[in-house]
């Protein structure tokens, strides 16, 4: 009997490993991934990076050019997240199981959240590019729609987590819908929501780089420009600035989280 369990478990593990192996081989073939080239490229990239990909004294001349772009990207990410958060709050209150007004609103807002979350950011960038060309608004809106989908879902889960008990108590006292939202639901879920918001800002700064490369705006465009000119010293300076920005924001967020959660 005991042997059975062990053989069963071993067989299960074997099947799992075999499936992984088959999927890996299939993926390698279909993506035309050259495994050896892939892994050797790591050492080559390290050697190349060490000899070329670092900011030198000369590349510092581009700082006055890059700083406004970096500032624009950071502000764009923050503005997109903040405005998306306000709308996401409304959608999540309408969509959450515990605070919804009726079924139809709930389904509609869940649908919007799911749709916006799953439309690839590339599609947003492409479509917005056509109407807004290379304005910061293109990047702003692309980030905004993605954030709206993600934050709505995150806020909805937060509300469902904190909700129920205190909502029931306030209903029993005869409090109205808006009383309950403002006196129980929001105070209880605000810290978690702000934590999500800070996370979204970090993510959006990284995504802004991608959108920038695609649409030719912000810091992503600066990188692409120097990269395509083979000016790797300048490109590496851009990367360094992005890294510093993201890490600073992450450190600030972590400190804020420690205080509020």
């Amino acid at each position: 009997m005991r042997d059975d369990i062990f053989t069963k478990r071993r067989n299960g593990n074997l099947v799992f490993l075999l499936a992984l192996l088959i999927l890996s081989v299939g993926s390698i073939i279909i993506t035309e991934y050259d495994v050896i080239k892939g892994f050797t490229s790591i050492t080559r990239a390290v050697i190349w990076g060490g000899s070329n990909f670092y900011p030198d004294a000369e590349s510092l001349r581009i700082l006055p050019e890059i700083f406004p772009k970096l500032q624009e990207t950071v502000l764009m990410s923050i503005a997109a997240t903040t405005v998306a958060a306000v709308l996401a709050l409304v959608l999540s209150l309408a969509g959450s199981q515990t605070t919804r007004i009726n079924r139809i609103f709930s389904i509609v807002s869940r649908g919007i959240a799911s749709l916006f979350r799953n439309i690839p950011i590339v599609a947003w960038a492409m479509v917005l590019m056509i109407s807004f060309s290379q304005s910061p608004l293109t990047g702003y809106l692309a980030l905004f729609f993605g954030s709206l989908g993600f934050l709505t879902r995150a806020f909805m889960e937060t509300i469902d987590e904190v909700g129920n008990n205190s909502i029931e108590a306030l209903q029993a006292t005869g409090a109205g819908y808006f009383h309950i939202i403002f006196q129980a639901v929001l105070p209880a879920s605000m810290p978690q929501m702000i934590s999500w918001l800070l996370y979204m800002i970090e993510t959006n700064i990284r995504d802004a780089t991608l959108v920038g490369v695609l649409t030719g705006t912000g810091i992503g465009f600066s990188f692409d420009l120097y990269y395509k000119r083979f000016d790797y010293h300048a490109a590496s300076l851009v990367v360094l600035l992005i890294v510093i920005t993201v890490i600073v924001i992450e450190l600030v967020s972590n400190n804020v989280r420690r205080v509020i959660l």
Binding site: T173, A175, G176
Partner: protein, 261 residues
């Protein structure tokens, strides 16, 4: 005329028979009534039908002369201000202070805007303060509720119900999550409230001994039916067996001790 009257109240969940089956009784002003019965007997449903947190399927419930099932949403809120409720898990907004949670009891009397902004009059605050003081929580008044012990949280729950100026307080397993010491404090407070303020207390209890000690009257429920309704001294071993069925074995020993003592 009785303060609370239930006539042939029946409740079915999902067309299944019967969380409550033809329940009728009436309760007078200032009475302390315990509802006892095994878990799943419908005690909680019965309590929630009184303030319509659960809608009864059929039957009539009148509170203070008003037939509650016929009330509009607005009138129902007004009725609920007259009925306080306290819960097993306290159902406080943990991140808010004691005084804020207590004042939530006033929300039913407020306009939407005043309630949303949390504007309370000096009279309301003074009243809340006096109640908190009597319940022995004046040192915790500005503490956040997540820093309180279980017994303290339940006293905040009582204060929230009292600040409503209720005629009835419904208590759903108020001491099920508390240690014996805290339980005694809570039950003593409830007893005093009914004696000194003339507020009707209806309490769901698990512990027969506690019901015997504090109640003016005991209602035994099993499978949604009222199987006993009378004074504590009339409750016999046989009737406890009726109420609790097979669960009754260890309970009867307690009762035996009471008769012996």
């Amino acid at each position: 005329m009785a303060l609370l009257e239930l006539k042939n109240v029946t409740k079915n969940y999902n067309n299944e028979c019967c969380a409550l089956d033809n329940v009728s009784f009436s309760v007078d002003k200032g009475e302390f009534v315990s509802i006892i019965g095994p878990s799943g007997a419908g005690k909680s449903t019965l309590l929630r039908c009184i303030n319509r947190m659960v809608e009864a399927s059929s039957g009539e419930i009148s509170v203070d002369g008003l037939i509650s099932s016929s009330l509009s949403k607005k009138k129902l809120r007004k009725l609920r201000t007259k009925i306080g409720m306290i819960f097993q898990h306290y159902n406080l907004v943990d991140r808010l202070t004691v005084i804020e949670n207590v004042l939530h009891g006033r929300l039913g009397y407020k306009s939407t805007l005043a309630g949303v902004l949390g504007r309370y009059s000096q009279e309301e605050k003074s009243q809340a303060y006096r109640i908190i003081e009597i319940l022995g929580l004046n040192e915790q008044i500005y503490k956040r509720c997540d820093q309180l012990s279980g017994g303290q949280k339940q006293r905040v729950g009582i204060a929230r119900a009292l600040v409503q100026n209720p005629k009835i307080i419904l208590c759903d397993e108020p001491i099920a999550s508390l240690d014996p010491n805290a339980s005694k404090i809570i039950m003593d407070h409830l007893g005093n409230i009914s004696k000194e303020m003339g507020i009707t207390i209806i309490v769901n209890l698990h512990q027969v001994e506690v019901a015997l000690k504090y109640s003016d009257r005991i209602i035994g429920v099993n499978r949604g039916k009222v199987v006993f309704d009378g004074a504590p001294c009339d409750l016999t071993t046989r009737q406890i067996r009726d109420i609790y069925g097979s669960e009754s074995e260890d309970l009867i020993i307690d009762l035996g001790e009471r008769h012996a003592g």
